[in-house]
């Protein structure tokens, strides 16, 4: 069988996921339950959406550190807007997220500034904005719209809505990446920006779009999360962006851009969730060790993947 570089990378993450899941299934009865699977998936959904957008950004060779802040901001404005009904609760966070993403995109595409630093600035900016609309974070808006709550907490065929939504968006994202001109542009910009420009790819427009998409999805993830929690929590904790980046990288997408796939990102997101779940299954692991385990795990997966890729590069075509 012929495998492309991408192929091995994404299957690498899936293979590790399968392995870890298998170990979990065998070792922990508590891991084997349907309830546990549901909990795992629904909690992974917001990170999944953020990582989905992040994958697009990273494929163009960029990075988006602002997603964590936008996620929180999206949740807060969604809860606030829910007093005006379901549609407002859904649309406002999308608009706000997309707006922040647009700022990122325009700055990256038009000013030749490094995405790392641009989005680091908007990380601060979006957090400031979130605090500004919540009286320095002290006001927690409660979700007023029942349909909106259902979007976060209801289920279809036993699977929660956020999980369905994430699944559908991942499939859609895959189609966009592989089967549309925009998707090709994303890979081309990340693979070789200069060449892409010379080949007539609208580089700036592509960059603007991926950051806007990333912001939009982070805002949406925030909205879904608020719908589920029933309020616009302001203290969701920092570091969501690093989790998303880790998930994408574990999924085999090159941080330098140009190669990767969404199936890998799903595997990465689930892998982070499974690890966390397994640590909890063990029961009494001190926090400090949890971090050591997560860090070491990240290193091991990525090292394994890099080695796989290298093996691949000397194999015959």
């Amino acid at each position: 069988m012929k495998l492309s570089v991408e192929g091995v990378q994404k299957h690498g993450a899936l293979a590790v996921l399968a392995l870890v899941t298998l170990v979990g299934l065998l070792a922990f009865p508590g891991f084997r339950t349907v309830d546990n699977a549901g909990t795992l998936l629904v909690n992974a959904a917001p990170l999944g959406l953020i990582a989905l957008g992040m994958t697009f950004v990273i494929l163009t060779g960029g990075i988006d550190l602002s997603v964590g802040s936008v996620f929180v901001l999206g949740g807060v404005v969604a809860a606030w807007a829910s007093q005006y009904g379901f549609v407002a609760a859904l649309v406002v966070p999308l608009l706000v997220g997309a707006a922040v993403g647009l700022v990122n995109g325009v700055l990256v595409a038009r000013t030749n500034m490094a995405p790392f630093i641009v989005t680091l600035a908007t990380l601060l900016g979006a957090r400031g904005l979130m605090r500004a609309v919540s009286t320095e974070g002290s006001t927690t808006y409660l979700v007023e719209s029942q349909p909106f709550k259902t979007l976060g907490n209801g289920d279809l065929l036993g699977v929660k809505w956020p999980v369905w939504i994430a699944a559908v968006l991942f499939v859609a994202g895959s189609v966009v990446l592989n089967r549309t001109g925009f998707g090709q542009a994303v890979y081309a910009v990340g693979g070789n920006t200069d060449a892409a420009r010379l080949m007539g790819v609208p580089v700036a427009a592509t960059q603007i779009r991926v950051y806007a998409l990333s912001g939009l999805l982070a805002g949406f993830a925030g909205a879904l999360n608020a719908a589920r929690l029933g309020s616009g929590v302001t203290v969701l904790g920092i570091g969501t962006e690093l989790d998303a980046i880790a998930a994408v990288v574990i999924g085999g997408t090159l941080l330098t851009g140009g190669a990767g796939a969404l199936s890998g990102t799903i595997a990465g997101v689930l892998l982070l969730g499974v690890i966390q779940n397994l640590i909890n299954q063990v029961g009494d692991v001190p926090t400090a060790y949890q971090q050591v385990v997560s860090g070491a795990f990240l290193a091991v997966v990525v090292v394994a993947q890099t080695s796989l890729t290298r093996l691949r590069s000397v194999a015959p075509v």
């Binding site: 508590g30 339950t33 309830d35 546990n36 909990t39 795992l40 629904v42 909690n43 917001p46 605090r131 919540s134 320095e136 974070g137 002290s138 927690t140 409660l142 709550k149 976060g152 907490n153 999360n225 589920r228 929690l229 029933g230 309020s231 929590v233 302001t234 203290v235 969701l236 904790g237 570091g239 966390q276 779940n277 909890n280 299954q281 029961g283 009494d284 001190p286 926090t287 400090a288 949890q290 971090q291």
Partner: protein, 332 residues
Amino acid sequence: GKAEETGGTGTDNAAAAQQTASAGPGGGTCTLQQYGGQKIDLKTAKVGFSQSEKEANPFRTAETKSIQDEAAKLGITNLTVTNADSKFNKQIADVEQMIDQGVQLLVVAPLNSDGWDPVFKKAAAKKIPIITIDRKINAKHCTDFLTFIGSDFYEQGKRAARSMAKALDNKGTVAILLGAPGNNVTTQRTAGFKDEIAKIAPNIKIDFEQTGNFSREEGQKVAEQLLQSKPGISGVYAENDEMALGAVTALKGAGRKAGDVKIVSIDGTRGAVQGIVDGWIYGVVESNPRFGPLAFQTATKFFAGETVNENIIISDREYDQATAKDGLAVAY
């Protein structure tokens, strides 16, 4: 009201255990029957404890340890402890997962008061009693959760204000070192302090409010800036002891003398109480983290069919020049 002795005996720090202050105004009551749960034996029960933040600062260390020690003392062998590492979504996932695993009693130190819908939905279906400690959860009593055990943060702020008013003789300018933004504790300790100052000492002006994020280093940095831009400041209200200790280091660095600037803070850690003894801190309002005995006692009562109050507010000590020396023995 007068405190009623409820603390467990036999711990190395019996005198330090929490005491209930009141049943909490306006709170309802709840029984096992009303809650709809099942009678269980705590010893063999599966118990889950969800901690919100890393056990690095003395408060969290003492809190988790207290729960674990008490469980061990009661012979509870099946205790699961999770730590959300200050990530709210992780805490929700942690608790949901513990419910999936079949815990029969949940003790939660919530990171945030709102946002617990998914947990309640899941817990209600299985009728699992939830005891929240140190921070309240905004939810329906006796349906969503059993009881809240903890301090009244607003009241803590008010007590700090009274202490400050006394220290400054009702006049002067005061700076607030705020806790982490968005945190309920920050919000209430700030509101209590400001309201009380406005009421009892209108001549005290609050001139500066910056966050020190509950951390010693940031507290120190902010205090250093403060001392340069407002050298005439007469008091500093730190919303936790760590920031107060940072402010002390800043004062020392700026060549100030002990007692120059009156510092009042909340928590009651040993370091801060020592600070009073050394003369750098004026007063400390305690926030007692030793929830273990009270929490399990409440659970025992509940499963025995007795009535449990919605709010069990503990009485917090206060340390000042007079009580600090002795207080060192009970400070955590």
